[in-house]
Structures are given as structure tokens and as C-alpha cells.
């Protein structure tokens, strides 16, 4: 049995946004840029990451426009190289990695565990400033000529053979990396030490488990790319270094250091999304997440496995056959915890009373797209297949299915789901559903043809291609236009709803998390009194009893 919507809103003629909340408790620009409140810092992060998303998106738009025709006719070849490098660097380091932890995590972790703030509020604010400083380095790099190494900074190309702003880009990543480290430390400490009375580890929402796993990756992996970037900068400035094959160095060593971070970082770009999906699936199916413990530990398992698979990016780069074999097997193992999650979410929906509100539509989109993205990852883990498919559009399609199809869908689900909590108002539901469906169609039209292109042998990172690939490329570019509409719609109606949306009340979705049991938008210190957790996570019977009690009082 399913109904179309779950929303219950308070009577609009009498409902009011709470007079005092974190948005209006203090006023003026200074109260925002010097704030220690985790919710305000989350909003600062939201504004900055969306800004970077627009830069990265604009670069992607020009790339798709160039690839409309086989000839390289819109931009010059080296401009094209700069475009995809900027797209990659900005989207990976300044959008996908920070947005979910720093926006959703910052806003929700203290609310969900019943704390007044994160454990280290000043460190939290510092992390935002480091992020902004790192971002300024990237803006400087873009404005003064860009960088054309790709986001992977492959040596010795990046250290000896290009004359673009590698140093600026690397320094930006180095500094922004510290913002990730500080966020990771903050979340781990918060989750360990700040939980409300009664909030045991196995009563935590699965969102928290996902972000805990993400933070482990931040803490252990990010320092390694920091040192790799330092070595790149030194090698360019001093002219000698451990990556320079002409002077006895080893370029493969850079690949190891880079992917030791960047493969776990790929899971930073999906684990938080999985946390969002757990919350949304449960709320809109009105059921406890099936196999809570398995889903919780699969998050940690993904974080742990992420440290043992990095060399699968290097199968054709001259690592030994034996290590390739081991890394291939380890990579396939990652499919196990991922599959546990997908099967458990499906089982959660089974016999649930499913409601097709916007967050749920994004979530269903996520399940399909992430499954395709994940399974093609298993193809790529297979050594023989990888040698055929690596550095082709198959790879491009694979990781966009996971990162854009998966992560951005989950992010959209999360932003719509918690929008009433963040702003106190509802977004327009029908437009939301429309945008979710457009995003799904546009995404598939953009990236599915790229699987075929890659299989047929079209290499990535080229500005022109043989004419027989044009039909599929036209499909892809057309899809990108539809995808862009899917992104633009929320950019328009979400800001609109801040002023004109319907008043949401504290719990429009009848969800069970602690964050829904306080007013929307919450107070500066989240709760008038620290709540006591006396029930399991996703306990809808408890919620019903609780609401009746509140009503009878």
C-alpha cells in the first residue's frame, strides 16, 4: 500500500516560524563569519561549495559543447586540457569531498546525537577558513592561466613537462586538505564523546555510522596527499625530487602516494550519500532499516577496504602482475559491503508503506544509478577488462555513475529531506519531484552512451574524436543539457522557498531522528534541554506514542 505523500504540515493560517532560531538569534555579517555554531558553519560551507560546483559545472558544459562535433573546433587543445583539469580538481576537492561532510554532517551530526555543538567549534570554523584559503589558490590558478595536468597531477608531466600553475593548484589542495582533516577529527571526537544520555552506538542513526566511516578516511588518508603535494611543489621549485626519473626518482611512487589518498577519497564521495539514503529509505517506507547492524558495519568495512585497493588505478602503470592480482581481488571485495547496503535498503522498502516524496524519488534514482556504477566497478576490477577499458570513456561513465548519479542524487535527497529543518519551510513538492525525474533522465542520457563509447575505444581527455563516435556524443551532450535543467530547478525554487515556502513545523515527515524532535529551524544550542534517548533508532511506534503524549499534554 502506498500513498503519494507523507507530509503533514501545521495549519498554515496559524503556524509561525519559531521566533528565535539559529538563523536570527544573532545578526550581521560578523555574526556569520565568526560564528562557532555548527549549523551556521554548515551554511557557510553550503554557499562556498555551491559556488565551486558552478565553476566546475561551467567547465563541464564547455567540455560537452566541444565534444558535440568530432573536430576540435570550439576551444584549442590546451584550453580543453585546462577545462577538464579544472572540472576535475574543483569537483573532486572543492565540491564532492567537502559538501556532504561539511554541510550535511556539520548541520546534522550534533542534532542527531543530541549534542549542543560539535566537540571543537573553533576548529570547525578554522576548517572553513582553510577551505576558503585553499579555494582562493584554485581561483588564482584558474584566473591566471589554469592547469592542464588533469586532477591526478601525473608525474613527471606535472613536475617537468607543463608550464601551467601546478604549484598554485597543489597548494590549494594541500591547504583544503587540512580542512578535511580537521572536519574528520571533529566528527570522530563528537561522535565518541558528545552523544546524549542513552544514545548508545547501536541506537545511532545509520547516517552517523556513515559519517564516522567517512571521518576515518579523512583522518588517515588526507595527510598522505598533503605530503605528495608538498613533494610535487618542491620538485617543481627546486628541480629535483623523488618523482623525477631523470635523476633516479620514481614516478610510480607518486602514483602510490596519490592513490593511497585518492582511492579512499572516492569513498568519501559516496559514504555520506549512503548515510542519507538510509535515513530517507526508512522514513519514506515507515520501517526500521532492515539489518541495521549489517548496514552500520558495512560502512566501516567500506572505509577499511578503501585503504587496500588503491593500486587498481595503476594496473597499466607498471606494477607487478602479482600485486595487480591481489589488488584486483581486494577491489572485488568492496562489492560485498556495497551490495549489503543495496540489498538491505531494498529489503527495507519491501512491504513498507512507501511514499513518493521528492527525497524518496532521488533515493530510488540513487539505488539504480549507484548499482550500475558499482557493478561497472567490478568490471574494471577485472584485470583483463581493465586493460581494455582503462583511460577510456567507460571509466568516465563508471565514476560519474557513482559520484554524480550516486552521490549528487543522495545529496539532493538529503538537501530536500532536511530543507524544512534547515529553513523551517517546505520546498514546492511538485517542482521537486519534477527536478528529481529530470535529473535521473538527464543523467542517464548523458553518461550511459559513454559506457558504449568507452567500450568501443574512445579515449578520455581528448578534444576531438573519430566521426563514427558522433551520434553517441550528441546524445551525451543533449543529456547534459537536460541534466543542467535538473540542477537549475532546485537552484531556483529552493531560495524561493526560504521566503515563500509553506511553514514546515518541527517534524513534517514524521521521522524518528532526534533532529526532528526539536523546532525548525533549531535553536543556536539545538535543544532547550539535552534529550534522553530511550528507544532504538527508527522506532516508529515510539514516535506515534510520543506524538500522542505531546498532543494530549
Amino acid at each position: 500500500m502506498s500513498t503519494s505523500t507523507l507530509v503533514t504540515l501545521p495549519d498554515q493560517s496559524t503556524a509561525k516560524i519559531p521566533k528565535v532560531n539559529f538563523l536570527n538569534q544573532e545578526n550581521g555579517l560578523l555574526s556569520w563569519i565568526l560564528t562557532l555554531d555548527h549549523k551556521r558553519i554548515a551554511i557557510l560551507y553550503l554557499i562556498t561549495t555551491v559556488f565551486f560546483f558552478m565553476i566546475g559545472g561551467a567547465a563541464a558544459a564547455v567540455i560537452r559543447l566541444e565534444l558535440l562535433t568530432p573536430a576540435g573546433d570550439l576551444v584549442a587543445a590546451d584550453t580543453y586540457n585546462k577545462l577538464f583539469s579544472i572540472h576535475g580538481i574543483i569537483m573532486v576537492f572543492f565540491f564532492l569531498v567537502p559538501i556532504a561532510p561539511a554541510v550535511l554532517g556539520n548541520f546534522l551530526i550534533p542534532l542527531m546525537i543530541g549534542a549542543r555543538d560539535v566537540a571543537l567549534p573553533r576548529v570547525n570554523l578554522l576548517s572553513w577558513y582553510l577551505f576558503v584559503i585553499g579555494g582562493c589558490f584554485e581561483l588564482y590558478m584558474i584566473i591566471f592561466g589554469g592547469v592542464d595536468t588533469g586532477w591526478t597531477f601525473t608525474t613527471p608531466l606535472s613536475t617537468h613537462y607543463v608550464n601551467t600553475h601546478v604549484v598554485g593548484a597543489a597548494m590549494g589542495i594541500f591547504i583544503a586538505g587540512f580542512s578535511s582533516i580537521l572536519t574528520g577529527i571533529n566528527f570522530i571526537v563528537t561522535i565518541h564523546k558528545m552523544r546524549a544520555p542513552g544514545m548508545t552506538w547501536f541506537r545511532l542513526p545509520l547516517f552517523i555510522w556513515s559519517f564516522y566511516a567517512t571521518s576515518i578516511i579523512f583522518v588517515l588518508a588526507t595527510p598522505v596527499i598533503a605530503i605528495a603535494m608538498v613533494l610535487i611543489v618542491l620538485e617543481r621549485v627546486v628541480g629535483i625530487g623523488v618523482f623525477d626519473p631523470a635523476r633516479g626518482g620514481d614516478p610510480i611512487l607518486f602514483q602510490h602516494l596519490f592513490w593511497f589518498y585518492s582511492h579512499p577519497a572516492v569513498y568519501v564521495m559516496i559514504l555520506p550519500g549512503m548515510g542519507v539514503i538510509s535515513e530517507v529509505v526508512s522514513t519514506f517506507s515507515r520501517k526500521r532499516v532492515f539489518g541495521y547492524t549489517a548496514v552500520a558495519f558495512s560502512s566501516v568495512a567500506i572505509a577499511v577496504f578503501s585503504f587496500f585497493v588503491w593500486a587498481h588505478h595503476m594496473f597499466i602503470m607498471g606494477i607487478s602482475n602479482y600485486s595487480a592480482l591481489v589488488f584486483s581481488l581486494m577491489t572485488m571485495l568492496v562489492a560485498v559491503p556495497s551490495a549489503i547496503k543495496v540489498f538491505n535498503w531494498s529489503a527495507t522498502m519491501y512491504k513498507g508503506s512507501i511514499h513518493f516524496d521528492t527525497p524518496m524519488i532521488y533515493t530510488l534514482g540513487f539505488l539504480g544509478l549507484f548499482t550500475i556504477g558499482g557493478l561497472t566497478g567490478v568490471f574494471l576490477a577485472t584485470l583483463g577488462m581493465d586493460i581494455h577499458l582503462t583511460e577510456t570513456y567507460f571509466i568516465v561513465a563508471h565514476f560519474h555513475y557513482v559520484m554524480v548519479g550516486g552521490m549528487v542524487s543522495a545529496l539532493m535527497a538529503g538537501i530536500h529531506f532536511w530543507w524544512p529543518k534547515i529553513t523551517g519551510r517546505m520546498y514546492p513538492e511538485s517542482l521537486g519531484r519534477l527536478a528529481a525525474i529530470i535529473l535521473f533522465i538527464g543523467f542517464n542520457l548523458t553518461f550511459f552512451p559513454q559506457f558504449i563509447l568507452g567500450y568501443l575505444g574512445m579515449p578520455r581527455r581528448y578534444w576531438s574524436y573519430p566521426p563514427e563516435f558522433q551520434v553517441l556524443n550528441v546524445f551525451s551532450s543533449a543529456g547534459a543539457t537536460i541534466l543542467a535543467i535538473g540542477y537549475l530547478l532546485p537552484f531556483l525554487y529552493l531560495p524561493w522557498s526560504i521566503t515563500y515556502g509553506e511553514i514546515a513545523g518541527s517534524n513534517p515527515w514524521k521521522a524518528t531522528g532526534l533532529e526532528w524532535q526539536t523546532q525548525s529551524p533549531p535553536l543556536m544550542e539545538n535543544f532547550p534541554e539535552i534529550p534522553i534517548m530511550d528507544h532504538e533508532a527508527y522506532d516508529y511506534d515510539w514516535l506515534e506514542r510520543h506524538q500522542q503524549e505531546v498532543a494530549s499534554v
Binding site: P18, D117, P121, I181, G184, V219, P223, L253, L523
Partner: protein, 251 residues
């Protein structure tokens, strides 16, 4: 929910609980605050291990490939200076541990003394390190900027080292790889020195705060966490010293 409880930070915190002034508003007890900051410091040190870990990995690979070059490079370093610096750092760790103890037991005068001694020893270490780097600059051992293979293709050109170790001349390509040794030497000791400079700056700030009596009224978190940091930087040097100075010294 209740809008009546909506007050600003200070009022809410002050009105509801009795607690010492150094307790931040979002913690429910001083013990929780101490636990949280202490745990955060340990996590930060974990990230530092990963940071230096990348360098140690590079070092081990290069040392395995170019062992003779690493031996020749290492013989250029002064074992006397290295040992002195190690001793200075270990003593500074002792004075830092004393500082933590003084803060915990509320001895303000002794705390200032211990912190000042730690600061002094840190500065002495940095001066010795700077002196040593200057020596390498003079000897043409700075890769990329001022480097010559002369001492390695013709060891007799450096009579002092030659007298002691009788190094055999290296082939030109292996001698070039001494550059790899010195590159890693400068990056590793440079990163370590950067941590020392940060430590010395924080120490200066701490001495000023200690004079105002900030750490001897029960709030020792900062001193304790800085102590962890200082010992960590010390331990990094304990690894750097044998790896860089003591390669094949037994000839």
C-alpha cells in the same frame, strides 16, 4: 518547542549550570571537555604519523635502490651535531613533562620555569639545525640549488670524512643519487623543523598565558595536549636521527 528557553549562549550556560569559567558552553562537564580535546589531539597526531609516513615510505624505497649513495650522503653529516640535537630534544621532552606535572599540581612558578626551559631547548635545537644546514650549503650538498658530486666521485676531496670512513668513489650516476638522499634529508628535517617552529611559537604564547595564571587554576587541557604534540615531534626526530645520520657508521 519552547521559545522561552531561547537565550544567548552565555545566559543559557550561566543560568543553568554551576561550572568553572573555562568550561565551554556545549560540554556538560569539565571531564567531557578534557576527554574530547585530549582524544582530538591523539587523532591529530595520528594524521601526523600518516603525513610523515609518506616521507618515510619514499625514504625507504630510495634507500633500498641507492644504498651506496645513501651511505656516502650520510657520512657527510656530523654525528656529533646529530647526537647533541637528539640529547637537546630528549631533555626538552623531560622539561615538557615537568611542565605538565607543574600545571596539574598548580605550581605556577615552576610551570613558567619548565616551559621557558623547553622553549630554550627548542630554540637551541633549531639553531643547531640551522648551523648544520649552513654547513651543507657551504659544502655544495643542497640538491637543485647548490649541489656538486665532487665529494662522492672523489671522496679524497673531503679529507675529514675520507680519513674516518675511507669511502670508495661512486660511479657518476650513483653519485647523482646522493642528491636523492640530500633531497629527502632536507624535506624530512625541514618538515620536522617546521613542526618545531610551530611548537616554539605556541610555547611562547603559553608562557604568557601561564604568567597570567591560566593553567594553574585547574584547566590543564591545553598544556597536556601541547605536551603530547611536543613529545610527538621529539619521537619523529628519534626516528630521523638513525635513518639519516647512522647509515653504515660501523666501518
Amino acid at each position: 518547542m519552547s521559545e522561552t528557553a531561547s537565550t544567548t549562549h552565555g545566559v543559557l550556560a550561566g543560568a543553568q549550570h554551576e561550572h568553572p569559567p573555562y568550561q565551554r558552553h556545549h560540554f556538560s562537564s569539565v571531564a567531557q571537555q578534557f576527554d574530547a580535546s585530549n582524544f582530538a589531539m591523539w587523532l591529530f597526531l595520528l594524521t601526523e604519523i600518516m603525513f610523515f609516513g609518506g616521507l618515510f615510505t619514499s625514504y625507504l624505497i630510495m634507500r633500498n635502490w641507492y644504498y651506496p649513495a645513501f651511505v656516502a650522503g650520510s657520512h657527510q653529516l656530523s654525528i656529533f651535531l646529530g647526537t647533541t640535537m637528539t640529547a637537546v630534544l630528549i631533555i626538552s621532552s623531560f622539561t615538557m613533562a615537568m611542565a605538565v606535572w607543574c600545571a596539574e599540581t598548580g605550581r605556577k612558578r615552576d610551570l613558567i620555569l619548565s616551559l621557558s626551559l623547553t622553549l630554550l631547548l627548542g630554540v637551541v635545537f633549531l639553531c643547531l639545525k640551522g648551523f648544520e644546514w649552513h654547513g651543507e650549503w657551504v659544502e655544495y650538498h643542497v640538491p637543485g640549488l647548490r649541489f656538486s658530486v665532487e665529494n662522492f666521485v672523489n671522496p679524497a676531496s673531503d679529507p675529514q670524512v675520507f680519513k674516518e670512513y675511507h669511502d670508495k668513489p661512486l660511479a657518476t650516476d650513483m653519485a647523482e643519487n646522493v642528491g636523492q638522499y640530500f633531497f629527502l634529508y632536507f624535506v624530512m628535517t625541514g618538515m620536522h623543523a617546521l613542526h618545531m617552529i610551530i611548537g616554539v611559537s605556541v610555547l611562547t604564547f603559553m608562557i604568557l598565558r601561564a604568567r597570567a595564571g591560566d593553567y594553574t587554576s585547574g584547566h590543564v587541557t591545553f598544556v597536556e595536549n601541547f605536551g603530547l604534540y611536543w613529545h610527538f615531534v621529539d619521537i619523529v626526530w628519534i626516528f630521523l636521527f638513525p635513518l639519516l645520520y647512522l647509515i653504515s657508521r660501523h666501518s
